[in-house]
């Protein structure tokens, strides 16, 4: 298991460095911009003008709260962060095993005395670790910003809580994408489908506050349950976090069973694997 995790992390070095730099830059930029916002009366006047003339727009982005660090982060950082890291999560989930299978390298790895279970869970744990590392880089970058910012200050632990909430939801998209990769003919199709769900969830959640027709749909949108400002102020809702972790676990267990049963391809794209799913339900 350790060799599989180590090898997977080694292969993720580029992703960690690339995404890590990008996410750190985003966090530092957003944290630093708060000083400009908080110290500018003109900016606040502009926000108030938005609220007066375009109340729906102001409500979507919670503009009234932007003069506090929590409100600023809620609006400017955590609105877009799930979309950005969600696309990473879906790509990583779909590539977890299907990338090697399509590249033909899985065949030779599995010809060695490493069980499918060890390979699957080793890869999954490594991928989960990569997501955690990226979220920690983002959190640490915000903390770093606080060292020079005059106005942007938040307690470190409380600031970690939205990232924990984000982790549960990102893991959901990773495991969903992984499941798709076990069922669909190609990794790209799986990644694209899961990515579309991330984008759809983002817009449904964003617009549900002002479009009444989307309120019911928002109940089924994972990003609706992302806690940002509320987590910092009131603590993490462990029930929802637990529900997401449970769903993640179910999805990953189904994927694991599918991987146990599947014929490993020599390379290239395969065919639909929905019949594999049927075998699991028949067994249950």
């Amino acid at each position: 298991m350790f060799t599989v995790i180590r090898y997977s992390l080694r292969n993720s070095r580029g992703a960690i460095i690339g995404w890590g730099i990008g996410l750190a830059a985003l966090a530092i930029m957003m944290g630093s911009l708060f000083d400009m916002m908080a110290g500018s009366n003109e900016m606040m006047d502009m926000m108030n003008a938005y609220a007066a003339t375009m109340p729906e727009f102001a409500e979507i982005f919670n503009m009234g709260a932007m003069n506090t660090p929590i409100g600023w982060l809620d609006v400017e950082y955590f609105s877009f962060m799930p979309l950005i890291i969600g696309l990473f999560a879906t790509g990583a989930g779909a590539s977890l095993l299907a990338l090697d299978e399509e590249g033909g390298t899985l065949d030779l790895i599995l010809a060695h005395p490493v069980s499918r279970t060890v390979l699957f869970w080793g890869r999954f744990l490594a991928n989960t670790l990569v997501i955690i590392i990226l979220l920690l880089i983002s959190w640490a970058s915000l903390l770093l910003t606080m060292t020079w910012s005059e106005n942007f200050t938040l307690p470190a632990f409380e600031l970690l809580l939205p990232f924990i909430s984000l982790f549960g939801i990102m893991l959901f998209f990773t495991t969903l994408s992984l499941l798709f990769s076990m069922l669909l003919p190609a990794r790209r199709t799986a990644s694209m489908l899961a990515g579309m769900l991330v984008v759809a969830s983002f817009f449904i959640t964003l617009l549900a506050g002002v479009v009444d027709e989307l309120e019911r749909a928002a109940d089924f949108s994972p990003l609706t349950y992302l806690e940002t400002a509320t987590a910092i102020e009131d603590g993490l809702n462990l029930v929802w976090f637990g529900i997401f972790i449970a769903i993640d676990l179910v999805l990953v267990l189904i994927s694991w069973q599918l991987f146990q049963r599947r014929d490993v391809r020599v390379g290239g794209e395969g065919s639909w694997r929905l019949q594999d799913l049927k075998t699991i339900f028949v067994k249950i």
């Binding site: 060799t3 033909g104 390298t105 030779l108 790895i109 010809a111 060695h112 005395p113 020599v266």
Partner: protein
């Protein structure tokens, strides 16, 4: 060579959707032998090998590898087997050395690094360059070294000499013979018949998912057809010759020469031929290639 079976396959069936890749394969490979698995592309060679390693699951039939069922204990089988896939794909950003380190770790660091270097040196394999700069032949060498490096009891090699130059092909065949000398069983698929003929103790011929022949290579060659070229001293009508049982006229060079194909004993032909004034008589045993082609042309359909 012991009688214990290294590979025992019964009624193996594998379908890919509507495509029937294996239609009930039965095969026994004895411990310590070099076994050639002949067949053209698409005959089912790779499918059979991948079933043996539990990379794909058959719909029916049973497999025993070194006495172990690979569907039940795949790791126990893979522990003792060295495998070279027909199409070798490795992480091309790594060097050959890193690939061997990785595979060695997956095997619990069982391999002797000195042996890995020795194999690499014999194959003139560069260990420290990134694989993405390698030619197809050099990538194949990586596959051969990783299959041999832990000195497995059973080698499953899918077209081991493909992409290699003739000198390297000879070197690989020597390595297989040495592995056999050290007690290993070698099962290799190929469509290069000359190499199977050169090293295999026994061969199986697979056609359209079915084994059509399993035989000791030498026996197969001996009991097979021969070609007999006869040159008479004068124009001769020797219809009597090719009407003999097991004799078939292949060609007439001119009125003085004929080419016959003879199946079985030569005795009757030689005795009959004694009546004729013969200038020259040449006999040539059919190569494994011709036998193989005969199966594929349906002449020896079982």
């Amino acid at each position: 060579m012991s009688n214990q079976k290294a590979i025992e396959i019964r009624g193996l069936v594998k379908n890919y959707g509507r495509v029937k890749a294996l239609k009930g394969v039965d095969l026994d490979v004895n411990c310590g032998e070099i076994f050639g698995f002949l067949g053209p592309n698409g005959a089912g060679k790779t499918t059979a090998i991948r079933c043996m390693l539990d990379l794909i699951r058959p719909q029916n039939g049973s497999i025993s590898m070194l006495g172990i069922n690979p569907q039940e204990e795949p790791e126990a089988v893979k522990e003792r087997v060295g495998y070279l896939p027909g199409e070798l794909h490795v992480d091309e950003n790594m060097t050959a050395r890193q690939v061997f380190h990785f595979f060695n770790r997956l095997r619990g660091n069982r391999s002797d690094w000195g042996f890995i270097e020795e194999l690499s040196e014999r194959l003139k394999l560069e260990l420290i360059s990134p694989i993405k700069n390698f030619s197809k032949g050099n990538k194949q060498k990586i596959g051969i070294v990783q299959a041999l490096m832990h000195k497995p009891e059973l080698l499953l090699l899918d077209e081991p000499t493909s992409s290699l130059d003739p000198l390297m092909q000879q070197e690989v065949l020597r390595m297989l013979a040495e592995a056999q000398d050290n007690g290993a069983t070698v099962f290799f698929s190929s469509h290069i018949i000359s190499e199977v003929q050169a090293v295999a103790d026994r061969v199986a011929i697979i056609r359209e998912g079915k084994i059509v022949e399993v035989a000791v290579t030498a026996d197969l060659l001996h009991r097979s057809m021969r070609q007999v070229r006869i040159r008479f001293q004068q124009p001769t009508e020797a219809e009597e010759l090719y009407k003999l049982p097991g004799v078939e006229l292949i060609a007439k060079d001119d009125s003085m020469g004929i080419l016959l194909q003879v199946e079985g004993q030569m005795d009757v032909l030689i005795k009959t031929l004694a009546k004729y004034p013969v200038n020259d008589f040449e006999t040539e045993r059919t190569s494994l290639e011709e036998i193989f082609l005969a199966y594929y042309n349906g002449k020896e359909d079982k």
